[in-house]
């Protein structure tokens, strides 16, 4: 298949789930800009591996599995080997929403990658447990455990921050 034809096929398949994919990428990243980069990276990888997609109906789960894998890799050895950028923090424009989002993003990044992915996809993007399990190549039970563990850890983090500062957690930043 020629590049042009492959590109058109990819964009056609991507169109229905592009917004959800970008939002998920942003929520898994330290900033919107990093999330957008992650998404475009996933599009490039999907383009290169499109020949491996057997059924178009499986595109959504297939694309999200690429996105999640790249997200893990970005956070994993790749960043351990390279110095972290100072600008990884969210650039806040000091609205209450961005401050709250920045706090939550930091808290999410303290979670294990699989737990973060499961929580973000379930709570923020409304994916079903079965869809998350397919994207993570895991069982439904494992995904449920991850979500519940992630919520528990987030609650603990919020509670300890609230105790430490004796004020609502988002005020900390």
């Amino acid at each position: 298949m020629e590049d042009g034809e492959r590109g058109r096929q990819l964009l056609r398949l991507l169109e229905p789930c592009q917004a959800a994919a970008i939002r998920t990428a942003r929520r898994l990243s330290r900033s919107d800009a990093d999330g957008d980069e992650l998404f475009h990276d996933a599009v490039f990888h999907a383009f290169r591996g499109l020949h491996a997609l057997r059924e178009e109906s499986a595109f959504r789960a297939w694309f999200f599995s690429i996105l999640l894998r790249l997200s893990r890799r970005r956070r994993g050895w790749w960043q351990d080997f390279l110095p972290l950028r100072e600008s990884d923090e969210v650039a806040t424009d000091s609205t209450p929403d961005t401050e709250r989002a920045a706090w939550l993003r930091r808290a999410l990044h303290k979670l294990a990658p699989l737990e973060r992915e499961a929580l973000v996809m379930a709570e923020l993007e409304g994916f079903s447990i079965a869809e998350i399990a397919e994207s993570q190549a895991s069982s439904v039970t494992a995904v449920k455990t991850r979500i519940s563990r992630a919520k528990k850890r987030l609650r603990e983090r919020y509670a300890s921050a609230a105790r430490a500062y004796r004020r609502p957690a988002p005020e900390r930043s």
Binding site: G7, R23, G35, H40, F44, W77, L104, L124, Y158
Partner: protein, 283 residues
Amino acid sequence: MFKPKLEQDGDAMHNSAQMELATDDQLSRDFEALRRVTGERLPSLLETERRLHERLRASSVSKRKLLVAGCVAAACSTALAAPLLVELSAPKVDAPTSPTAAPDRGVAAPAATQPSDADHPSSAKPTATQLARAKRDALRREIVRHVPPVNAAVAPTAAAPAPARAPLPTDLTNKMGPGREKLVAFLNDEFSPLLAECVEQAEARAPTQAGMFFIGIETLAYEELGAVVEVAAPTERNQLADPLFIECVRESAFTLIIPPPLTNGQEKFEVNGFFGARPTSGE
């Protein structure tokens, strides 16, 4: 005496429940905020298409740059130019470059899943990987003339692939120094993406496996010519034993040419990372 204790316990429970409610409330408000913030100004499909075209264009440029870099390295030494010309004018169809080598940066698909030029006997045109390997071997021969490697007897070349080696020792820690920083920077920029491709191919072959890989790298450098990777082999701690992965790493490493100026001699590094799902605590 008993009652106050109960009251204290009751207060504690009440506070704890209040705290939990407040935390849940806070959490759901923050989720809502993150939902709003990250849902704004999403790139359009047109923007995605434009970025994809840019990446593809950049890929083909970087593929060309790989070939040019080899020629520049060759041009820095007149002695090097002759063997290179010989290698280039007589390309081998059955060149020893493995089909499992990571694709050159930007090649459309992993080499292991796509037929290469070498698969078509009618096409005598060497692949970019084969050319890069040939240039690396020519450069290595020149470097060895000036700086013989300690283990010259087993040093791999295209003509004589290295025999199976015992795993490298595990003490290849990343000792930074003035002579090593440039090598580390180069490996980060040029080798890591190739390594990532090898990991991806290994993950695709066995999606359920997970753990850490540890690759020992030894470079051989001559200050005026540059450096090549002399050894790329798993260390004792390596958990990704897939032979195709090891071969992919080796073949990819043996296409690298590190430009001068450098410090003479051999250096050792260890590159490690996760493959498959990154392990989480308690899973």
